[in-house]
Amino acid sequence: MDFLRPETLAEALELKASMPDAVPIAGGTDVMVELNYDHRRPSALLDLTRIPELQQWSDGLRVGAGVPYVRIIDELGAQLPGLAMASRTVGSPQIRNRGTVGGNLGAASPAGDTHPVLLASDAVIEVASVRGTRMIPAADFYLGVKRNALEQDELIVAVHLAPAKGPQQFSKVGTRNAMVIAVCSFAISLFPEENRVGAAVGSAAPTPRRALEAEEFLASALDFKAPKPLLDSVKREFGELVSQAASPIDDVRGSAAYRKHALAVMARRTLGWAWQQLVDGEKACA
């Protein structure tokens, strides 16, 4: 197996074009597990950790694919509260020091912790190849279980995510109080100026998935200009629609019925917290 260590993005794209089987590796928190278990034996690993562009974020926001979770939590929490909350639930401190959003997107596991936030926040994934750059909305990025929209010669370069324009919440159920893979998860982003919300579920369908009917329901049921205390009936209906958006399975981590139930609970609660933040005139995360 070759271990390729490009110093620049251009060099990395050339290598990827010439060796489409090369597996990109950043933090290695997914890839190395697969290698250790002999689940894959790529002809080459493409180490992206030396490329400065991937390790940076810029105003706007354009977050390099190789920025580790710990920096998102520590440095971007105010601007991207939802992403920071999801990042905080990833693995252990060691994993958060190494793991990246780019890696989460590359693996495209339905249980990846940041996916629901990216969906609910209208994130756009910037991918590149020697042929050029593509901007892929998160909603179009996840194609199936561990399958994403990348072409063979493309690398994930960055995630474009506007600073939060309203309250954001993320919630994840696991059967341990830390360091646990999601049984199911949920993210909500409020866009008060646009009179709408983004909502998405994780680990409850073959891909992370937006809850479009739930979003539409809230857009019509809520008055963002003069927010009043939420009616329980609104929360319940929203929870129900989120639950309906999921098509979970029974597996070793939980039953499909439990996942649907838990999604409804998380949707009700996170909507309540986000709305309260709006009512309180706050934008920061809890």
């Binding site: 278990y37 909350m85 252990s92 159920v173 341990r176 109080n177 830390a178 070793v252 939980g254 609660r269």
Partner: protein
Amino acid sequence: MTLTPAELTSAVSGGIGTSPQRPDGNLKVRGEFAYASDLWHEDMIWGATLRSPHPYARITSVDITEALKVPGVYAVLTHSDVPGRNLYGLEHKDQPVLAVDVVRYQGEPIALVGADHPETALRAMKKIVVTYDVLDPVVDMETAVDDTPLHPGGNLVRHVPIRRGSQDVTADVVVTGRYEVGMQDQAFLGPESGLAVPAEDGSVDLYIATQWLHVDRDQIAAALGLPQEQVRLTLSGVGGAFGGREDLSMQVHACLLALYTGKPVKMVYNREESFYGHVHRHPAVLYYEHGADHTGKLVYVRTKMYLDGGAYASSTPAVVANAATLGVGPYEVDNVTVDAYGVYTNNPPCGAMRGFGAVQAGFAYESQMDKLAEALGMSPVDVRVRNAMTEGSVMPTGQVVDSAAPVAQLLKLVQDKPLPAGTSTDIRELPGGVSNTTHGEGVVRGVGYAVGIKNICFSEGYDDYSTARVRVSMVSGSLAAAVHTAACEVGQGLVTIMQQIVRTELGIERVTVLPMDTTIGNGGSTSASRQTYVTGGAVKAACAAVRSRLDGRTDIGDEVIDETVEWRHRATEALDPETGQGNAHVQYGFAAHRAVVDVDVELGLVRVVSLDCAQDVGRALNPQAVMGQIQGGSAQGLGLAVMEEIQTSGGKVRNPSFTDYLIPTVLDMPPMSIDVLELADPHAPYGIRGVGEPPTISSTPAIVAAIRAATGLALTRVPVRPEHLTGT
């Protein structure tokens, strides 16, 4: 010389009753300790194991031709290459070293590959062609005895009955229940690993992470067809055990490959293989009926319990005896009916794990005590205290408890501890933690109590002993001692305890613990909470022999004083096979817990807020190590209460990874307030009482009782899953 330990303690620092630093402590904290998986030998090759994908199948052919052709492969071995007895086992020799014509569990070893690189071995292993005639597995422990016989003698491994007092007495208040305990794993962090080095004379040295060098050696020698002296074992660095290393894993396999190839052979399991490579805690189904009078005094207890031993016997017979003899708990009951059955199925083999039969019974009888309290309108503590055994109480086996049994005192100690503050508003302290599932919504608090009993040391007439050698000589002008045993240090701190005992007994501060190996006599198993008792007793006795030769001298010139002692605890008796009567146990240990939990009743998530414990340890030779044992045992009990289970379906393991087999993290385990009683047992060295297992028994039912108190649900199965709490 008749100095007492108390007087001697003052002579040197680091004696008993203090908590000196572990000799292996710094290395482990710095990540420099050499575990068995770090073993290395020049010119060594790597072994790999081909395992059955089926829980039950007939093997119709095994073709190794293509595997042998892989460059770098030195050997591919099957059962026909086992030169000695192709069967081993702790109590029954029923488990093949390599499967012959049938596999009885998923993961059963069929063939071995030795190759120049672990990758080569894996590649070659995939080229071995095995054809199977897949059979319907037997997976239900309650009906297994009447199902397809998996072994020549049928599927009953052992039935232990106990009949005490009246068998048809009636009572004012009766509560019944059916309880289930899921399959828990020891989840030690250091996977199975060892290095076998062949010698020119046809003998072999094995460096190995194990719990019991001598019984490993005896089984290996029999399988290799070698005299015992030609199989030499040295303990390597052990990364935890908890019972999971009492049985053989790769020991014989590595030796077979080494002797066949003439090369040193290393074998290391990865985490997934480790789940298939060792026995687990027996899952159990337990039926109970408790009868009491209106004052809460127990009139009778009747129970029928099934323990699933899986495909091979391992230590099932002893586990069943423990579940039976300890099956009513630490309570006085005059009329007892117990039928405990250990059975064969095609589920993963089960054997020793911390608590060993007492854990399964403990969950059930403590659940029953809570149910009884509710039926009587009494508090859970009061109904337990009303029936608590004391010194002089009679066990269901007829055995008189002849040392301290402070059951009521332990319960009152945990009851009187201050309760934690009310439910937090900090999400880090709420169910779900930073997963941000609740800011207080749906969170209900509950409090629960439990107490448990565990036998210490080996039981039922087993000749349980340990051998210790203590050698004293002059080093740099002062006396120095070396202590040598074959008793395994698996992380519990025996190395420290042995140093402390020698310091105390001989007044010599510099004590070296020699590597543990089979050049000295049997040290017995590192299990049954017995090493401080038995090997500690042996070291103490060896020191006494040295001390009499030392005769008070502090300068012995060129003389070397070297004494080896074989030391036994008092004898025990077999159980009567009809009535279960007999003085079967050496000593009893007791612990009590009070658990406080916050339950998110809508999401079914639990946070254990506090888990306080009181335990009698007879005497705390190393107070810090005692606390560590109580904390660790309690955490393992917490795991069984709310998360730890090997899930099987049709005999297949569904979660052989630490991604899906969850053990508690530091954020799941609350800080503990611990009361340690030191009520000396006059029969034991220094009065000590085994400490490692009792806290594992009461922790689980206390937590489940607290969850019941919070939710009002019956919760008859552990681990409690979110689905059980939400009804989805």
